[in-house]
């Protein structure tokens, strides 16, 4: 059974009151959802709290899920909206994807490959990962989110476009910009 139809079956069972089916959904998605929310909040405990809240929201909204759509896309859309609501309540500055980015990142346009000192050659993979984690906290969340959805959660660009209700081309470009922001911050550190 494919993951797609397996999810639809579990949702149908959960809708009929089968709590075990929903528990299976939680077990399947607890890790990817915590990875996503952890990278977005930067704190494990906060990520676990958010993950719980998202699952409760999902359970209460199961009736509105349409099996024609991929469940994981629907789940992450709810998670993304939950984060946005949280930031709005906290009145944290959020950055629209349509806004220009301040600083160096604002001028991230296709450029000549940098022949200067290579980050990759300087550090081993583990060190690079540590640097990425630190750099991730520093880039605007709207870019960070697309990067995380693509490279941590391994969604396709089309799926991310569905989750964020954005054109595929915009998603591709923003993920590229996020990676360049990370690379530049790592080079500067």
């Amino acid at each position: 059974m494919s993951s797609f139809s397996e999810d639809s079956t579990l949702v149908a069972r959960a809708l009929k009151g089968d709590r075990k089916a929903f528990e299976m959904i939680v077990r399947k998605y607890e890790q990817p959802l915590t990875n996503y929310l952890g990278r977005m909040t930067g704190e494990r405990e906060a990520a676990l709290d958010f993950t719980q809240e998202v699952f409760i929201k999902v359970y209460c909204s199961l009736g509105s899920y349409r099996p024609a759509y991929k469940f994981s896309t629907w789940l992450f859309k709810i998670a993304s909206n939950h984060l946005i609501d949280h930031w709005r309540k906290k009145k944290l500055p959020t950055l629209s994807l349509d806004q220009p980015v301040d600083g160096d990142e604002a001028t991230l346009t296709p450029q000549v490959p940098d022949p200067g000192p290579s980050v990759a050659r300087k550090f081993e993979l583990a060190e690079i990962r540590q640097k990425i984690e630190r750099a991730l906290d520093a880039i605007p969340e709207a870019f960070r989110e697309l990067f995380v959805l693509r490279h941590v959660n391994e969604f396709s660009y089309e799926e991310i476009a569905d989750i964020k209700s954005l054109p595929v081309g915009t998603v591709k470009n923003r993920v590229f910009q996020a990676k360049e922001m990370l690379r530049k911050r790592m080079e500067g550190s």
Partner: protein, 193 residues
């Protein structure tokens, strides 16, 4: 010759997101551009790091703690529906039982029900007094029967799901329509008399 300024192509190439012709063009360019090959090697290591960030640790009992916070929402939401459907189903069973025992047609049963409802509150009072005496005796038996019927219906509804509940409600609606026309016929008979 490929344009070296398109930095996005390096990532798209590594993610295998370039279309076949774009990929061929990119590889052809790499074959004679050492600078781009160096950049690609660097981006490849970065790409590997991007796609292998360590997961956040999730406690083994996390799913159970989520489930503990989830209310018995499904049961709560359908509770009133189950009660309504049980009542309607009991009414249908009662009418069918009356039909089987007396041999009266369903329309006659409906007319009789309507007639008894329309016979006046004053005439019913003595009847209720007598019924109360008999009711005491029957109450124990009836409560056991209703409890069994209720449990059976709840089990039936949970197995039927929303579609089954809809079907039963539809049956109830049909019965209401029959009752309405039965009462209408009774009234028209009264006018003729």
């Amino acid at each position: 010759m490929r344009d070296c300024r398109n930095a996005e192509s390096f990532y798209l190439y590594l993610e295998e997101e370039l279309d076949p012709s774009g990929r061929r063009e990119f590889e052809a360019h790499l074959a004679h551009c050492p600078s781009c090959r160096d950049v690609l090697a660097e981006r490849r290591l970065l790409h590997e790091a991007f796609t292998s960030l360590p997961p956040f640790e999730v406690p083994p009992d996390f799913a159970l703690s989520v489930m503990a916070r989830i209310p018995e929402a499904a049961a709560e939401k359908t509770g009133w529906l189950a009660a309504l459907a049980s009542g309607l189903a009991a009414l249908v069973v009662g009418l069918l039982g009356f039909y089987i025992l007396t041999g009266e047609s369903l329309s006659d049963v409906l007319i009789a029900v309507s007639r008894s409802l329309g016979s006046g509150f004053g005439r019913l009072l003595p009847l209720f007094a007598k019924l109360l005496k008999v009711g005491d005796l029957l109450l124990d038996v009836a409560s056991d029967f209703m409890a069994m019927l209720g449990k059976g219906l709840v089990a039936l509804l949970s197995s039927l799901g929303p579609d089954g509940i809809g079907l039963i409600l539809g049956l109830g609606l049909l019965l209401s329509v029959l009752l309405f026309f039965g009462a209408k016929r009774l009234l028209s008979l009264g006018e003729k008399i």
